[in-house]
Amino acid sequence: MPPSPAPTAPDAHSWTVKVREAGVEALPPEKLLPDGQPTYVASWIYMFGVASIASLIVIIGSGSILALKGPAWWHYTGVGHFFNSIHMWAVELFFFVMVVHLWGKYWMAAWRGGRTRVWITGAIIFLVAVPTALTGYVSQQNFDAQWISTQAKDGLNSVGVGAFFNVTNFGQMYSWHVLLLPMAVVLLVSAHVLLVRTHGVVPPFELEKRPEFAPVAAPAADGAVSAAGQQS
């Protein structure tokens, strides 16, 4: 049977078409990957957002190599120890640039103009990154892992978390570290970046309208104002 010709008009009842059209409407390609930025995006502080993503890429890359070879590999090979060091320092860099990024966004009050969800996803990424790192520390299979796990258990047990998240169980912690928590971080980062692209980078405070100690820019309901992000 010969293939039927391509449909001339999309089927309005197709779920696929509906998802595609909603996606393109919310985030058209030129907004998703812009080739222009507002002129106010001109400070070194803006580097720390992309540096956070870059660190995450290096973490996942080095972590994937460690996962491919298994959890014990890095203890008895020089190459393994090298990749473990890359992984560890990328984590340190990730937290450093992410904290600077968060402070920068705080001082910009970057939740303004309908960007509340951008702030919330960013804050949650930091909070989810903390147990992601902790599960890495307790999966090291060395003295650090022994000590950190026996200490961390008390805090987690005290709030009942230890009942289902046992830091002294290497197998469970390794699963959380290499799959579940990184997946959560990547999904959250993806949502955060898409929200940034949807709403654009928060514009500066307007100087002439700034009365000292008066109600000023603060959160608005998400989607109330969609600023920037448009191509010149």
């Binding site: 993503i53 909070l127 000590w147 047990n157 046992n166 169980n169 514009p203 405070f205 959160p219």
Partner: protein, 334 residues
């Protein structure tokens, strides 16, 4: 809109940007950033590497500190060790930590059951074959009433605990405990029944590595759960002694440190801070109190856009003038 609504959700005059744009290559920027971070991680790796101190084992512990091992083991037997008295999620021998009426440790119950007497002492000893003295001692111990078992274990534990306390307080210990060729001889004032034979056998088994294996493979051949050997070791002094040398104890901000002079989990500084100050420092419920505080602060961190005053500070303290210096300068010159 009520006054409260205005406080948490004040007027937002942020406008959509109608000004100029400059050419910008997002993908190129990402590639450059990955290159720079990779280079930085590479330089730090070459300069500092990463720590990897070998783990301790029960065999090492029993060889290096036989009296400490025996003290911990007999406390597991008489139910006075930290693990034996822990409560949930390991056993019902304690209530766990609580804050006012909040008792999640108790509510969640025992999910990883550990009977220190059976799991750490009697169970491993039962795997030793061909030792008639031990077999007889175990039979005597297992058939004795609970009160008798307790009296035997306490009679054996008393001199060990007195010696440990004296050493901790840097006083001269009594001559009731002596170490000779890796064995521990305990002079008891009361009747310790079969406990001396059991402890001597357990020490010998531990030195050969048998207890490490026994605690790991008690359920199945393939094993990844180190809860039992870790808790047993944590009841002794070897791990904490190593931790103190590596500045990892709780009062040394240990929660955020790692071995060597590496930065560790510096992002846990606020969590570690509470353990350094009163009333948390000396509280029996320090862990749950600190976790509750950190939970509230984490929620506040997420909700910053809705917190009055905190959400206005960026407007009042003009750090934004530094961030958007170029923008304001070009606006004024225009």
């Amino acid at each position: 809109m009520s006054r409260f609504s205005r406080m948490i959700h004040p007027k937002d005059d942020t406008q959509q940007w109608k000004g100029r744009y400059y050419p910008y290559d997002l993908v190129k920027e990402l590639f450059i950033a990955v290159g720079v971070i990779t280079l930085l991680a590479l330089v730090l790796t070459i300069l500092f590497s990463s720590p990897d101190d070998k783990p301790s084992t029960i065999a090492q512990w029993s060889q290096q500190k036989p009296a400490d091992f025996t003290t911990a083991a007999v406390k597991e037997l008489d139910g006075t060790s930290p693990t034996a008295e822990y409560g949930p999620p390991y056993n019902h021998n304690g209530t766990g930590q609580e804050a006012w009426i909040i008792k999640p440790q108790k509510w969640l119950g025992v999910s990883h059951p550990i009977d220190t007497e059976l799991d750490f002492v009697v169970g491993p000893l039962e795997t030793i074959p061909g030792d008639p003295a031990l077999t007889a001692a175990l039979a005597q111990y297992k058939t004795a009433p609970e009160k008798q078992k307790k009296e035997w274990a306490e009679a054996y534990a008393k001199p060990l605990e007195e010696t440990a306390t004296a050493e901790e307080e840097k006083k001269t210990p009594p001559n009731t405990v002596t170490e000779s060729n890796g064995t521990v001889i305990v002079k008891t004032s009361g009747n310790a029944g079969p406990v001396p034979v059991m402890m001597t056998s357990l020490l010998a088994m531990a030195k050969s590595g048998g207890v490490d294996g026994s605690l790991l493979t008690s359920k199945q051949f393939f094993q990844t759960d180190y809860t039992k050997p870790l808790l047993f070791m944590a009841d002794g002094g070897l791990l904490s002694e190593r931790a103190q040398e590596q500045h990892l104890l709780g009062d040394q901000w240990g929660m955020m440190n790692e071995t060597g002079s590496y930065p560790g989990q510096a992002w846990l500084w606020l969590y570690a801070l509470w353990y350094q100050v009163e009333p948390f420092k000396s509280s029996e419920n320090a862990d749950i109190l600190v976790m509750i505080i950190m939970g509230v602060l984490s929620l506040a961190f997420i909700c910053i856009p809705f917190i009055p005053i905190v959400n206005r500070v960026p407007r009042w303290i003009p750090i934004y003038k530094l961030i958007w210096k170029e923008h304001y300068r070009s606006e004024q010159s225009a």
